[in-house]
């Protein structure tokens, strides 16, 4: 089959056999059709990161793909931040003026943006009200990236009429589904195996990062990469590590971003630092948001990767760890259970003790750990790479265009 370009071809020997040919065939049916993505930021966050990679792929397939950004006032973004929290179940103080600002800014953006496309994908709550400007005969999908399994009813009540106007909604997990009259589709997020966070690294690149953080190979490394917030439970992981240490020598590395705007997060980080000060084998790394290469190297240096969350959206750090062929232990919450097939590609755990037991078990059974890691990598190859994500979008577009 003739390759259409070099961008996609780079994934031919990374994605499962036959994937690229399948993508080209799906793309053939959609050539010349137009697709528009709209979200609220070009920089930062998983959505923007994924669109930066997916949109050029759509174009390479001959789809006229565009990506537009809405602009807004500080009050608008304060409002949508509150929406974001409220849809995830947190309390939020919202005034009539804020709801009005949300409507007004969406109207302004509708007048400014070119919203014409055969299929329009609106990402998250910020631009959802653009649906009022859907043109006759075009298909609009609302892509929700956040956990709305238990939304604050007042905000959901406000959003629901907008969402109901779409031709479909896309969620990341089955538990996020709502009572809606429109079709609700399931599309898992994905990782890009060629990004700095996930690409293969040269041994010297890994060594440079280990040197930077004074990491040596004398003990196996247990690693968790996550923000320092209570839902990621770094303190619980430290407790599990302490249990493990009564049986086996190892080192715990907690790598994550800062928590400057989150008082609860600061409290968690302070507690983590306090514990680390008492044990020289606990290493706390406060990394900048763009430390992708460092995270990649740390994951590749670890013996076991843990994501001991007690509440989680999707938790793509699990797929990142699995892609590096590592055994991953994750809290049995959110998307972690969709990524870890218990006992086959890792272990999900429900307690500090369970986490400690699985770490001990894997440290003492390196062959089992290696097999889990190998199977985890293959499972990720099939289910959580960007090529699968691309196929999902192409399939949905085929469905929307009536090209089944």
């Amino acid at each position: 089959m003739k390759p259409l370009g070099t961008l996609l071809e780079a994934y031919r020997h990374i994605s499962p056999p036959g994937t690229l040919d399948l993508i080209y065939k799906l793309g053939e049916k959609l050539q010349g059709r137009s697709m528009l993505h709209v979200n609220s930021t070009k920089m930062g966050g998983g959505v923007a990161e994924m669109l930066h990679r997916l949109v050029p792929m759509f174009r390479e397939l001959g789809i006229e793909a565009r990506w537009e950004i809405i602009t807004g006032t500080p009050l608008f973004f304060k409002t949508t931040k509150s929406f974001h929290n409220a849809l995830q179940g947190d309390e939020a103080l919202l005034t009539d003026a804020m709801f009005e600002e949300y409507r007004r800014v969406n109207e302004d953006n509708a007048a400014r943006l070119d919203l014409s496309a055969d299929m329009v994908v609106i990402h998250d709550p910020q631009p959802a009200a653009l649906i009022g400007h859907k043109a006759e005969g075009k298909k609009w999908l609302w892509r929700c990236h956040i956990d709305i399994s238990r939304p604050l009813r007042k905000v959901w009540h406000f959003m629901k009429p907008y969402i109901s106007g779409y031709d479909g909604a896309i969620f990341s997990l089955p538990s996020f589904a709502q009572r809606l009259k429109i079709p609700q589709y399931l599309v898992y997020p994905s990782i890009d195996p060629l990004s700095d966070k996930n690409r293969e690294l040269e041994p010297e690149e890994i060594e440079a990062v280990k040197e930077e953080f004074d990491l040596t190979d004398d003990k196996p490394i247990i690693l968790q990469v996550s923000r320092f917030d209570k839902f990621k439970d770094p303190v619980g992981l430290i407790e599990a590590y302490k249990i493990v240490r009564t049986h086996q020598d190892c080192r715990l590395v907690l790598a994550g971003g800062g928590a400057s705007d989150d008082p609860e997060g600061e409290e968690v980080l302070a507690r983590v630092r306090e514990e680390a000060a008492k044990d020289e084998d606990i290493l706390v790394l406060d990394l900048p948001p763009d430390a992708n290469l460092a995270i990649n190297a740390l994951q590749r240096s670890a013996a076991i990767i843990v994501q001991k969350s007690v509440k989680e959206g999707f938790g793509l750090t699990v797929a990142e760890g699995m892609w590096k062929g590592k055994p991953v232990i994750g809290g049995a919450v959110g998307g972690i259970v969709a990524q870890i097939v218990y006992g086959l590609t890792g272990y999900t755990v429900n307690s500090i003790e369970g986490c400690a037991y699985r770490i001990r078990s894997l440290l003492n059974n390196p062959d089992m750990a290696r097999k889990l890691g190998e199977d985890a990598r293959e499972y990720t190859r099939k289910n959580f790479l960007i090529t699968r994500h691309l196929i999902d979008y192409l399939s949905l577009m085929s469905l929307m265009m009536g090209l089944r």
Binding site: D21, K25, Y185, N383
Partner: protein
Amino acid sequence: MPEFQFIGCIEIKELLGQKADNEAQLLEMIEDVHPDSIYYHMHSYFLRHVYLSGPFPNDFANWAAIELRDNVLGEKLANVSVSPEKSLEDIRMDLVETIDKHLSEMRFVAPILRGSPFHFMKSQIVEVPLGTEAQDLSEFIQALQDVHASALYYHIFEARIRVRKGRNDFSIWLDDVLGYAQLAEGIEGIDFYMFSLEGLRLKILDLCRQELGE
């Protein structure tokens, strides 16, 4: 002589917004849910877990065992068989009878304690002709080695159950067009639900190579 044309497929997963919290609710919802949802939870497991065979071959069994911690029901549901002779309504009745009998043996039905509820879904299949063809058995073997795994799903599970051809597409072509009746029978005789798609690929390739004396 008509060639075999490989068709891959993509499964678009649709959330129904309905969930069950225990065995009794699972029973009630299976009684009423759209047949496509029965199909999805009994089959599409193979498309999702293409590389590895999971503990049980359908979602109901895995949920009962893992989330509900009702291993007995999990094992019973794992044995609800799917065959070309059975319609989706037959399968629905088998599931209902299995859960109903299990419930009659339970002293009380507890709500789910720590696991996740069962979320009902259904799927739509987008067919993708792959442009890969085979004229004879050698070409068939060559193509089957490299074709996307979803083609195995399409030609085996979709053909037998959803489209109700009675046999898998490979056996139909090998028998009716090439005259390999015994090979066709051998492939149809595979217990498809005991393998992952990659496992099925290897099993079918093995049978084909034996036929050619390789």
